[in-house]
């Protein structure tokens, strides 16, 4: 009887210890925890920061040559039909994007979207600059036809290139979840809370999709 009691006591103690250890141990999932200060996580955050820097320069110079160092096309970052439609509209009115005409929707990726956005903007801004320069030279306002030409058949209005210094916004990172060669990053850039998907290719990280979780401009 005493032996039995001792056995039950011993078994209960072991069970409690095991349960205690199990409860206090951090839960593990397939993805690594959303730590912000690991070398890999820092590398990913740098890529996102650099993408803002490259875009800020492109918004002033329309130099998109660095885009492929931070953005990539990947089926993992599958674009939404609306974003693909945006790319298609840009392709239709811009010779510089003609190489995309034969690309099937399933292969149009985030790098294509970014190039389409800036090449479209460039075309608009150049038209804007030219019309304004001629009008200023002739000391007059734009004519009605000139003003009308600033709106294209998709209802988009030409915008000028940005001026002033290109600065990087103070990005606030909330989480970086890495699962093999894919990372999901949640961060705030000021007016938006974003979820970006990145992939690792040959040791380097590239942004392949961008979802806006919240807007608060």
């Amino acid at each position: 009887m005493t032996k039995n009691k001792l056995f039950v006591f011993f078994a209960a103690t072991v069970l409690m210890i095991v349960a205690g250890i199990a409860l206090t141990m951090p839960k593990t999932t397939e993805a690594s925890p959303a730590l912000l200060d690991t070398p890999e996580s820092m590398q990913i955050q740098d890529v996102i920061r650099r993408s803002y820097e490259i875009e800020a320069i492109a918004a002033r110079t329309f130099d998109t040559s660095q885009f492929s160092s931070v953005f990539a096309n990947s089926p993992i970052g599958k674009l939404s039909p609306l974003t693909i439609e945006f790319v298609r509209e840009a392709v239709a009115v811009n010779d510089e994007l003609k190489y995309l005409t034969t690309k099937p929707d399933s292969e149009v990726g985030f790098l294509d979207y970014k190039l389409a956005y800036y090449i479209w903007w460039k075309k608009d801004a150049e038209r804007f600059d030219t019309l304004l320069a001629v009008a200023e030279k002739e000391n007059r306002d734009l004519t009605e036809e000139e003003a009308a030409s600033l709106v294209d058949n998709t209802g988009r209005v030409a915008a000028p290139r940005l001026d002033g210094d290109a600065t990087i916004p103070d990005l606030k990172f909330f989480s970086v979840e890495i699962d093999g060669n894919v990372a999901l990053v949640v961060f705030d850039d000021g007016p938006r809370t974003n979820l970006m998907t990145l992939i690792r290719d040959n040791g380097l990280w590239y942004i392949v999709n961008w979802k806006i979780l919240d807007v608060h401009p």
Binding site: A56, F86, V151, P160, H216, P217
Partner: protein
């Protein structure tokens, strides 16, 4: 014979004056009647509320708050900038109450408002190449996201508007800033807006350096 000539000349003069007057009325009056101080005084008083004089397109922040363009149009309206009533297309801009609110899309939808601006470009509005060239009573539009699906990245059409209220010291009220974090006070060009409601913040507060903008000067 001589009398007939004088009569004809007088008729020509009347026609000429009538034409000149028509031209003046259709272009100049709209522009010259804009009282920037009155418009800005109104929006200064209503940066954090929704006055019953105008329709309300949401409060707070996020996707359900769509009052920014309405706010800018209130500035124009209170500044005496005439509404243009008519059909609800990109050529008209109005908000008036007739039992219920009658409001054109150009009044509250930023992209439609931008197209309206191009319809009256030069006579009423002028795009500027830089936001820093704007003055009190002007405004600018931004492309922060996709207009149809707010989850998606920018689509080249504006979806947010900010009013320029002139130069001065930035607000020190935490309510005007995200998380109540007040940036160092500075003397600069100031902006106010709805959604998120902000009063007298630096014109470029929360505007990333790559964000597409349309800078609009009101004539």
């Amino acid at each position: 014979m001589f009398k007939k000539d004088r009569l004809r000349k007088a008729k020509h003069l009347v026609v000429f004056v009538a034409l000149a007057l028509t031209l003046f009325i259709t272009s100049g009056v709209l522009a010259s009647s804009y009282d920037r101080s009155a418009g800005v005084a109104w929006i200064d008083a209503h940066a954090h509320d929704r006055p019953s004089d105008y329709p309300n397109y949401g409060t707070g922040t996020g996707r359900d708050c769509n009052d920014c363009t309405n706010y800018v149009n209130q500035m124009l309206d209170k500044g005496g900038f005439p509404q243009r009533t008519g059909t609800n297309d990109n050529y008209h801009r109005y908000a008036y109450k007739s039992i219920i609110w009658q409001v054109s899309r150009t009044w509250y939808n930023t992209a439609n408002f931008n197209v309206y601006i191009t319809k009256y470009k030069n006579t009423e509005f002028v795009y500027r190449s830089s936001t820093t060239l704007l003055i009190k009573g002007d405004f600018y539009l931004m492309d922060t996201r996709n207009n149809i699906d707010p989850n998606l990245p920018p689509d080249g059409k504006p979806d947010h508007a900010r009013a320029i209220v002139g130069k001065g010291w930035t607000s020190t009220n935490p309510i005007d800033y995200d998380s109540g974090l007040v940036p160092p006070r500075q003397w600069t060009m100031l902006a106010s807006q709805h959604c998120t409601d902000r009063w007298h913040v630096a014109w470029d507060y929360n505007v990333p350096s790559d964000m597409k903008r349309w800078n609009v000067h009101v004539k």
